[in-house]
């Protein structure tokens, strides 16, 4: 079986469809049992599925077969029969079957005709969970590139079917001098109140805030902060957003297939008040690189990662280019007073350095019981690190369990950038398990005992969509409802002048020693890295 669909094969496909319409395939009455392992792509068998997920179509790759029939069915054998190697389920039939099997097992039998004899492969199964998944996700589609960026899109996908639409694309405002980068679409509370934000960099740069159909653009960069806002987290109840501000660069491996290191040469945390339009510092130290802030569901704690930087050379570029693998990020937290809106002192949460690892992207489960994060050998931009795995840390004091890897969800390749569904039962994460380079989205069920189940790949109408897409899925987030403004409304807001945020000092209850003044003379650059403009 060849993977691609030639346009010359379209007539054949049409004929097949006509045949299928005329007489739907029936199960072979006689067949031989085999112990052949099903060779299908993607192989989602064994995964736990949400009862409202789109059909998990797949392709049978087993060679030297003249016919193939797939029977997807419930315990009582009622189900769907699909003929051919491209197994595409009818959406209505699929949803009806999932409704019937909710909280139960869904079975899949594959019959292959080899030398005129039907062979039955061992029955495969899916578990159908009781809890539904949030119906929408957003993500950025991007080539796994380095410095250049073209044709970036922030997309919205309905998980209950295959509908996908572009929320915003970056080509409209590009000119020969300046491109436009877009990133990090982040909803507030799963877009429950139609609030979200994303960043536009360089041409017409600013952070775009969406509330219902209203769109505004703000420039979060002030003279007192390192950059505009980068990685964000909305406060669950107050009109506040915590951001990291980063001085990021890229340096390239000459031989290592991990290809690139994305390194922060400085980073702090800020708090943006969306009503007052002010920016305050949360962390501002030259010797600590803080990033990836995330609020607890009650809004009383801010978690984040931080690495202590000890200069070994005068030139920070030369230092980190050589010692990049010595930079280890730990997870810290600061308590937040909802009344005074001030942060308490920093406290350690997870010491990854102690086990020779480095943590990134901490995310608290909606029930506040678990902290999910990515752990790799070094650094914080783990999508390029094959050692990156998902780990879980119970936050509930009643549990004495230490942090553990999510064995069922992880692979030998990179797992990174994860997010929780609003009911806390589903984890959406990026993985490069298919080829170590192109990121695909995977969804894993997270049970009440704190275990992840075998994940399934984001369903696609045709397997070829993933096979031939030379782009990565990036920074995906769950949504309870679609993003409301049209592309035209977003473009209009991007084109408008940005409102400038003003700096309002420290957000700490007891401001610590400000070591920012030492930063600029201390760190110099030899220009080897390619900087990212925030």
């Amino acid at each position: 079986m060849n993977g691609h669909v030639s346009i010359f094969s379209i007539p054949a496909i049409v004929l097949t469809m006509v045949n299928l319409c005329g007489c739907s395939p029936s199960l072979p009455t006689t067949y031989e049992e085999t112990i052949w392992e099903a060779d299908v792509a993607p192989n989602n068998f064994g995964a736990t599925l949400p009862p409202n997920i789109a059909p998990l179509n797949f392709k049978i790759l087993q060679g030297e077969t003249s016919e193939a029939i797939t029977h997807l069915h419930s315990r009582n054998k009622e189900g769907i029969i699909v003929g051919g190697w491209d197994v595409c389920f009818d959406e209505d039939d699929w949803h009806k079957l999932l409704e019937q099997t909710q909280g139960d097992t869904l079975y899949c039998d594959i019959y292959l005709k080899v030398c005129n004899v039907w062979k039955h492969l061992p029955t495969q199964h899916f578990l159908i969970a009781k809890e539904p998944i949030d119906p929408y996700i957003t993500y950025r589609l991007i080539r796994p590139s380095y410095v250049t960026y073209e044709e970036l899109t922030i997309n919205e996908r309905c998980l209950e079917n295959f509908d996908e639409r572009v929320i915003y694309e970056n080509m409209r405002f590009e000119d020969s001098d300046q491109g436009q980068c877009i990133n990090c679409h982040m909803p507030r509370n799963w877009n429950r109140n139609a609030q979200s934000q994303f960043h536009v960099r360089q041409a017409l740069g600013g952070t775009v805030f969406i509330h219902g159909n209203e769109v505004t653009k703000v420039n979060l960069k002030t003279d007192s902060t390192l950059s505009a806002g980068v990685y964000s987290s909305w406060h669950p109840t107050l009109n506040l957003i915590a951001y990291s501000v980063n001085e990021t660069g890229q340096v390239f491996h000459t031989l290592d297939p991990q290809k690139v290191e994305v390194i922060d040469y400085a980073s702090d945390l800020i708090l943006y008040d969306t009503e007052a339009n002010t920016v305050q510092h949360i962390e501002r130290t030259a010797s600590e690189f803080e990033s990836f802030p995330t609020w607890s569901p009650d809004g009383r704690t801010l978690y984040y990662i931080s690495a202590h930087y000890t200069p070994r050379l005068d030139d920070i570029d030369a230092d980190l280019d050589t010692n990049y693998d010595l930079l280890h990020y730990n997870i810290y937290a600061r308590d937040f007073d909802l009344t005074t809106r001030r942060f308490g002192p920093r406290r350690p949460v997870f010491n990854s350095e102690a086990i020779g690892k480095s943590a990134s992207v901490p995310r608290v489960s909606p029930d506040g019981k678990y902290l999910l994060f990515t752990l790799a050998d070094y650094g914080q931009f783990h999508i390029w690190h094959r050692s990156a795995d998902l780990w879980i840390l119970p936050l509930d004091n009643k549990q004495s369990v230490a942090a553990q890897p999510l064995q069922q969800a992880n692979s030998l390749s990179s797992e990174s950038y994860h997010t929780w569904s609003s009911n806390g039962r589903w984890i959406l994460f990026s993985s490069r398990r298919d080829d170590d380079n192109y990121t695909r989205l995977y969804i894993s069920y997270f049970d009440e005992k704190g275990h992840a189940h075998k994940p399934f790949r984001l369903p696609q109408q045709s397997v070829d969509c993933d096979n031939f897409l030379l782009r990565s899925y990036n920074a995906a987030e769950f949504l309870l409802q679609p993003v409301q403004p049209s592309q035209g409304q977003l473009r209009k807001a991007v084109k408008a002048n940005a409102r400038h945020a003003t700096y309002a000092g420290s957000a700490l209850a007891q401001p610590e020693t400000d070591s920012i003044k030492n930063r600029i003379p201390q760190f110099t650059s030899n220009g080897r890295r390619e900087s990212i403009a925030y």
């Binding site: 669909v5 031989l255 290809k259 890295r529």
Partner: protein, 481 residues
């Protein structure tokens, strides 16, 4: 009819001679720079954009330039269709048929004048898209005219007295259009030679590159110099012949100066074992200019060499959907066996700022150890950059591997180093060819006699222009990029 045929035949001859003559390598390169997949998914992606079907057809036709005669035939036929469509749409009399060729000539030169810009255009199919647009526009106009034929008055029926004038004007316009098209076509010798060398490198035909370099009559660009050096390295003749080939840094006949990276950046990095950088630039260019087979080939090759089989398979699948780039594994085994010895080094984080030649030269010059091939590259690149710090250790390490025949340039450098620094580790100079020793002695005496360096350069060139000594003392100011 009797006037249409001669015009058509002359145009066909003109177009095919131009396209399949000097511009043949340009056509081939255009094919490799055209993103086109023959699949329903790709068609669907195209048609989801305005004018997508037209762009899809145009890119499919343009990808046929991969087989120059096929692409040229399609291109010429499309231009002829434009001429005939005009005649039909405007109901032009045969006598005025020459007028119909102005636009085809414009469309022809619109493509042939692009030259280096074919690398940086973001148009999907710059050769065929305008042709199809004009063709469709003219045909639509024709349909409109047929519909409104009762009042359409543009038909020109020549009286017999004006017939001769019409024919003469027609022929003059045709000829002037042809001359304009020819003179505006980008036939820059260095550009076309660079393309020939690049295609030879891609086919592993290293001797052909050296032949083109030897035959070149103009000062070469850095692209040509780099490809010549690569061919000499591949053929094992670097140490004997490198300084016998023309050096130079001729300006590119185009604005900007990024052409080396765009044309041969991934190719050079790949063949010199800097796989991360080969992949990076192929990917950066794919981001900028689309899924061109020219980039997919290097993404595939690097993945293969890296042992990233699943990734290589992904690119192989993409290439398999193209019309003419399915056969990616031709010569792959030999290519891999040649490059593998250059991968014997410790990975490091680095950046090249797009300066491919500069990075490669300095990277090898400053490297330590590695395979025999790497040590020889370090030795030679040290000579090229005139950084002789590591000369003796590398020379002495390679000495046993030369098995009696020390390449001429290394002998020249050894003599020069001994003369400049005094204490040489080479205890016995009998390993140096007596002819080279005598030649060096003559050079020293002549230089001492003549004094001033600038005057020496011209005078010594005929006798010593093909030696490392001449390169070291007199070749300066080359703009590596």
């Amino acid at each position: 009819m009797k006037f249409r045929l001669p015009f058509t035949l002359v145009f066909v001859a003109f177009a095919l001679i131009l396209l399949l003559g000097p511009l043949q390598p340009y056509l081939r390169e255009t094919g490799a720079l055209t993103p086109f997949y023959l699949t329903g998914i790709s068609l669907g992606e195209f048609v989801s954009h305005p004018y997508g079907l037209l762009l899809y057809v145009a890119s499919g036709m343009q990808s046929c330039f991969a087989i120059p005669w096929l692409g040229a035939t399609l291109f010429t036929a499309s231009l002829i269709a434009v001429a005939y469509a005009q005649k039909w749409a405007f109901r032009l009399n045969d006598n005025w048929f020459g007028l119909c060729w102005v636009i085809p000539f414009w469309l022809l030169v619109n493509y042939t004048k692009m030259g280096y810009l074919i690398y940086t255009t973001k148009a999907v199919a710059p050769a065929f898209t305008p042709i199809l647009q004009v063709l469709i526009g003219v045909l639509l106009l024709g349909c409109l005219r047929v519909g409104l034929s009762h009042w359409w008055m543009l038909s020109v029926k020549a009286t017999s007295s004006r017939r001769v004038i019409a024919i003469v004007v027609s022929v003059l316009i045709f000829l002037s259009s042809a001359i304009t098209a020819y003179s505006n076509s980008f036939r820059d010798v260095n550009f076309l030679n660079s393309l020939r060398m690049k295609h030879a490198a891609e086919a592993g035909e290293w001797e052909q590159i050296l032949q083109i370099a030897r035959d070149g009559e103009q000062e070469p660009t850095r692209i040509q110099v780099c490809l010549t050096r690569l061919a000499l390295f591949k053929t094992g003749r670097m140490g004997d012949e490198l300084f016998t080939y023309p050096e130079g840094s001729a300006q590119y006949n185009a604005t900007q100066n990024q052409w080396l990276r765009l044309m041969v950046g991934p190719l050079l990095y790949y063949h010199y074992g800097k796989l991360g950088f080969a992949y990076r630039w192929a990917m950066e260019d794919m981001v900028e200019y689309g899924e061109r087979p020219a980039y997919l080939r290097y993404l595939y090759s690097v993945a293969k060499l890296n042992g990233e089989d699943a990734l290589a398979k992904r690119y192989e699948r993409s290439l398999a959907r193209t019309l003419f780039y399915k056969d990616i594994d031709k010569n792959k085994e030999q290519e891999i066996s040649e490059i593998s010895p250059l991968l014997n080094y410790t990975d490091q984080l680095d950046g090249d700022n797009g300066l491919v030649e500069f990075y490669l030269l300095h990277s090898f010059t400053l490297s330590e150890g590695g395979s025999r091939e790497m040590v020889e590259l370090s030795l030679m690149d040290g000579l090229i950059t005139k950084n002789l710090t590591g000369f003796w250790p590398r020379f002495m390490a390679l000495l046993p591997t030369w098995k009696g025949h020390i390449p001429a340039h290394y002998q020249e450098a050894a003599l020069m180093m001994a003369q400049l620094q005094g204490n040489s580790p080479l205890s016995d100079f009998s390993v140096i060819d007596p002819t080279i020793q005598q030649r060096f002695q003559r050079l020293v005496e002549t230089s001492a006699r003549m004094g001033d360096n600038t005057a020496n350069a011209t005078a010594l060139r005929p006798e010593y222009g093909n030696t490392y000594w001449y390169y070291y003392f007199f070749v300066e100011g080359l703009k590596t990029n």
